[in-house]
Amino acid sequence: MSLTLAEVEHIARLARLELSEEEKIRFREQLSAILDYAARLQEVDTRNISPTAWTVNVQAPLREDVPAQGLPTSEVLSNAPQVQDNQFRVPPVLEG
C-alpha cells in the first residue's frame, strides 16, 4: 500500500473533489494499486539511459500564423449546464 490517506486528501483537494471517508479508503486502495503496478518499471535498470520524453527525433509540426474559422458561440455553449449572455456560468469557486 503506497499512498497515505493524507495524500489521497491532497489529490482530492487539487481536483476540488469532496470525498466521503468511505471513498477516501476505497480510492486509496485503487490509486495505490495503479501506482504499485506502474512501479514495476522501477525494476528496469536505466543507469546507462538518458532521460527520454520522446523517442522520435523529429521537429514538432508547426503551423503558419493564418487564422481559420473556429466554432460558433452557440455550438460551444451547447454542452454547458448553465449559460448567460453568451458565457459559461459556474458557481463561485473558493480559493485555496
Binding site: L14, G70, L71, P92, V93
Partner: protein, 478 residues
C-alpha cells in the same frame, strides 16, 4: 533611522501580437469582441483535440531572447502546469518549465540619473493564456476568447533597487517589444502584465529578506506607486520592530493602496510534467539564422549612435529613438538632406512630432515623407522660403501629398527678395502711417520692428524680412 535599499524582482507576462493563438488557428486578438467568439475545440479543451504550435510564436520569442542576450536552447520542451480553475478548460496550462526556450541573459537600463542598472533575466518561456472570469452577483461568467493567446513569461532576478528602476524596466521593455514588433505592449489592454516582488534590507547588505508579492498593477505609474508604497510600509514595519510577512498584496489603483489578499491554505502544487501532445521545439542553426537575419539595431544602441554620428544632444536622441519608425524616419530625412542633422532633428522634435501626435499618424506612412521634409529644409537653406512659410508648407504637404516645390510654385509662396517689389510696399506703409514715421524720425527707432511687420503682413509673409528692414531704413533716412 538607518538607510535601507529595496530589492525588487519583476515577473512580466507579454502578450505576443501574432494573428492566431499559440496552439490553434483562432484569432488571437479579441479586444472589444463579444465573449466566446474566437474559440474552437482546441482552445476550449474539448476531448480528443491536439495542439499544433504556431511558428510565429517561436520566432517572436527568439527575437526577445536574443535581445535579452539569453542563451537559446536548440531543443526546448513544453510542460503541463496543472491547476483547477474555471478559466482553464483543460485543467492544465501548456507552459515551459525546466527546459524552456531560453535561459539566462540580461537587460541594461540607462537611468535618468546617468547610471546603468543591469537586470538579470531568470526565466524566459512561452506559454498559453487562460480565459477571463467575471463575478456578477455571486455567479461567475466565463469567456474563453483569451484561452490560448500566446504569452512570454519573463522573470527578472532581484536586481532592481527602487520603484523608479522598476518603472524604467517596464518603460524600456515596452519600447523594446514594440521596436521588435512582437507585442503591442499596451498595459491598459493587458498586453503587458506585471507582478512585483519587493523586500528591503539595510543598505550594503547582501541578504534577501522575506518578500511580498504585489499583483494587479496595470500601468507604469501603478507599478511605481505600488512599489514605493510597499517599500515605505516595510521600512515602517522594520523600524517598529516587526517582521515583514510574505504576503500577497493587491494594488487598488483607485485608492492608491495595497490590500492583503487572502492567503492560500495550501502551497501551490502544479505537478509539472512534459506535455505529451507536443514534440520538442528543435531550433536548428538554419532556422535561428533566418529568424535573426533582420534583427534590428536596438533603441539604446541607436540612441548612442545618433549622438556620435550626428552630434545630436542626448535629449534629441532619446526622443527620436522612442519608437523605431520615428527613428527610421529621422535617419531617412537626414540622408536625403545631407546637411546638418540637427536642423532635421529640430523639425522632428517640434513640427513633425506634433503632426504625428495630433493626427495619430504612422511615421512610416506619412505623406510628408522624409525626402519631402529634407526638401523643405533645402528650400529654407536656399532662401526660397522663410521659416514661417516652411512650417505651413509642412502641413500642406502632409494634407495634399504634393511635393514641397510644387506647392511653393502653385501657391506662389516663394520669398520675395526683389528690392523693387518690397520698396513699393514699404513706401505704401510709410505713406499710410505718417504719425509713426514722425515718431521714428524723432528717435523712436524701436518702431522699425513694427514697420517690418506691416510690410510682411501686406506681402503675406513672402518678403525677406532682412531685405524689408534694409529698404525701410533707407527710405526713413531720406
Amino acid at each position: 533611522m538607518s538607510e535601507y535599499e529595496a530589492v525588487i524582482g519583476l515577473e512580466t507576462h507579454i502578450q505576443l501580437n501574432t494573428t492566431t493563438k499559440i496552439f490553434c488557428s483562432c484569432k488571437a486578438d479579441s479586444w472589444n469582441e463579444p465573449p466566446n467568439t474566437n474559440i474552437c475545440p482546441v482552445c476550449t479543451g474539448l476531448p480528443g483535440v491536439l495542439p499544433v504550435l504556431n511558428k510565429a510564436v517561436v520566432e517572436k520569442a527568439v527575437l526577445l531572447a536574443h535581445a535579452m542576450h539569453a542563451h537559446i536552447r536548440p531543443i526546448s520542451y513544453f510542460d503541463r502546469k496543472n491547476y483547477f480553475y474555471p478559466d482553464l478548460p483543460k485543467g492544465y496550462q501548456i507552459s515551459q518549465y525546466d527546459m524552456a526556450l531560453a535561459h539566462g541573459g540580461y537587460f541594461d537600463l540607462p537611468m535618468p540619473q546617468g547610471y546603468v542598472r543591469r537586470v538579470t533575466i531568470h526565466k524566459l518561456h512561452i506559454e498559453e493564456d487562460a480565459g477571463k472570469t467575471r463575478n456578477v452577483n455571486g455567479q461567475r461568467y466565463i469567456d474563453f476568447n483569451r484561452c490560448g493567446v500566446p504569452l512570454i513569461e519573463m522573470v527578472t532576478g532581484p536586481d532592481l533597487r527602487s520603484a523608479d528602476e522598476a518603472a524604467q524596466y517596464l518603460i524600456r521593455l515596452r519600447q523594446l517589444l514594440r521596436w521588435l514588433g512582437i507585442s503591442e505592449a499596451d498595459m491598459e489592454k493587458a498586453h503587458l502584465r506585471c507582478d512585483a516582488n519587493v523586500s528591503i534590507r539595510p543598505k550594503g547588505s547582501t541578504i534577501l529578506n522575506p518578500k511580498t508579492e504585489i499583483k494587479n498593477v496595470n500601468s507604469i505609474d501603478a507599478v511605481r506607486n505600488a512599489i514605493q508604497n510597499e517599500i515605505e510600509r516595510q521600512i515602517r514595519e522594520v523600524e517598529a520592530g516587526r517582521r515583514v510577512e510574505a504576503w500577497t498584496l493587491d494594488w487598488d489603483d483607485e485608492t492608491q493602496t495595497l490590500r492583503k489578499m487572502r492567503s492560500k491554505e495550501t502551497e501551490a502544487d502544479y505537478r509539472y510534467f512534459r506535455e505529451p501532445d507536443l514534440l520538442p521545439v528543435r531550433l536548428d542553426d538554419a532556422w535561428k539564422e533566418r529568424i535573426l537575419a533582420d534583427f534590428p539595431e536596438l533603441p539604446l544602441a541607436r540612441r548612442a549612435r545618433f549622438v556620435d554620428q550626428y552630434g545630436l544632444p542626448e535629449y534629441d536622441a532619446e526622443i527620436l529613438t522612442a519608437e523605431r519608425k520615428l527613428s527610421d524616419y529621422f535617419e531617412n530625412a537626414v540622408r536625403a538632406y545631407g546637411g546638418d542633422p540637427k536642423k532635421i532633428s529640430n523639425w522632428m522634435m517640434n513640427d513633425v512630432l506634433r503632426l504625428i501626435n495630433e493626427r495619430g499618424l504612422d511615421p512610416a506612412a506619412m505623406r510628408l515623407t522624409p525626402a519631402y521634409l529634407a526638401e523643405i529644409q533645402g528650400l529654407v537653406d536656399a532662401g526660397t522660403i522663410n521659416l514661417t512659410t516652411a512650417k505651413a508648407l509642412l502641413v500642406k504637404v502632409e494634407e495634399s501629398g504634393s511635393s514641397p516645390s510644387a506647392i511653393v510654385e502653385a501657391e506662389g509662396l516663394a520669398k520675395v527678395s526683389d528690392d523693387s517689389a518690397i520698396r513699393a510696399v514699404a513706401q505704401e506703409v510709410l505713406a499710410e502711417n505718417p504719425r509713426e514715421v514722425d515718431s521714428y524720425r524723432k528717435g523712436k527707432t524701436t518702431l522699425m520692428g513694427w514697420f517690418v511687420g506691416q510690410v510682411m503682413r501686406k506681402m503675406r509673409g513672402k518678403a525677406d524680412p532682412n531685405v524689408a528692414r534694409q529698404v525701410l531704413e533707407d527710405l526713413l533716412k531720406e
